[in-house]
């Protein structure tokens, strides 16, 4: 079910997500020291192109990576054929991307 191009796309997004994940966790642990409120977070992220890019790319990579994985699971565990599995993949991709992009927009540019 997984051909070469989807395989490369999934591995490449995994590669991209590794530093995103490390930075995400490290900043979270660092920033939360001594307590942190929502307004303090928004104070740092609002208007920041850097954070918008960081989490924008993170969301894009996660949407691609996750939806390809769900396609394989749908095919191997639910027996979906190529077409329906592709629809599942596209749906998961769009839902993850929309939800993620909305959140990124809200905390950085909204």
């Amino acid at each position: 079910m997984l051909d070469l191009k989807l395989y490369i796309l999934q591995r490449a997004t995994a590669l991209a997500m590794a530093p995103f994940m490390v930075a995400h966790l490290a900043v979270m642990i660092y920033a939360v020291q001594g307590g942190l409120s929502a307004s303090e977070i928004l104070g740092r992220t609002q208007g920041s192109v850097g954070w918008a890019l960081f989490y924008g790319l993170f969301v894009l990579a996660a949407s691609i990576h996750g939806s390809i994985g769900v396609r394989v699971i749908a095919s191997e565990w639910l027996g979906l054929k190529r077409g329906p599995a592709g629809i599942v993949m596209a749906t998961v991709f769009l839902v993850l991307l929309t939800m993620g992009a909305r959140a990124v927009w809200a905390v950085t540019m909204g």
């Binding site: 079910m1 997984l2 051909d3 070469l4 989807l6 395989y7 490369i8 591995r11 394989v72 095919s75 191997e76 565990w77 190529r82």
Partner: protein, 242 residues
Amino acid sequence: MATAGKLMDVSVWRADGKREGFDAFQVPRQESQTILDVVTWIQQNADPSLAYRFSCRVGMCGSCAMMVNGQPRWTCRTHVQKVLKDNQLKIAPLRNLPVIRDLVTDMTEFFDKWVAAEGVFHGTKTRDEPMAPINHESPERIEASAAIECINCAVCYAACDVVANNPDYLGPAALNRAWALVNDVRDGADSARLDAVSGSGGCHNCHSMGNCMQFCPNELNPTASIAGLKRATVKAFFGRGG
């Protein structure tokens, strides 16, 4: 011998197109007895209608693999003593293959997939040219030599959960064969072969669970071969400019 003369309980899968299910037999234990000995004893002494497949009886031909207590085994080299559980044996046809009758599976799709994976040798020299010199210490030859001892028994194919969930998947044996040929300097079809193992049933479907490596009776490592194919296909993809 302590076990000689004792009886063990053996259930054997039967399927003749009309009825299918396990039949129970009591088989005398013997010293150094193999699973193939047990099946043969049943056919010769209890039920001559039992169908099974074997040939060499010495672990070379790859004909006699079956599921034994739920695990794929080469039955001619599997000692009863090693797999007997609570004095019971459950013998069934290989998983992931259609059954022709009783313990005999139809291996057509298994071998078709060898061909689909470009498992055929494509020589680059004619018979009039001198033999290709092979350096047995070269990294490619070491990879090829590691993969080449496959006896086509389909134990790995039966052990593979990806095959079970994705009937198009070429499977560990065919991909292992492809990897042996990718590393064979005498073969000239690498490009076609890498394309053949990059489709929707190709090497990228492998989850690296390692069942094939775990159960291969010749202790080959198809998981590593498939990982090699994944690397080679990605390299070729970027090498060609995408």
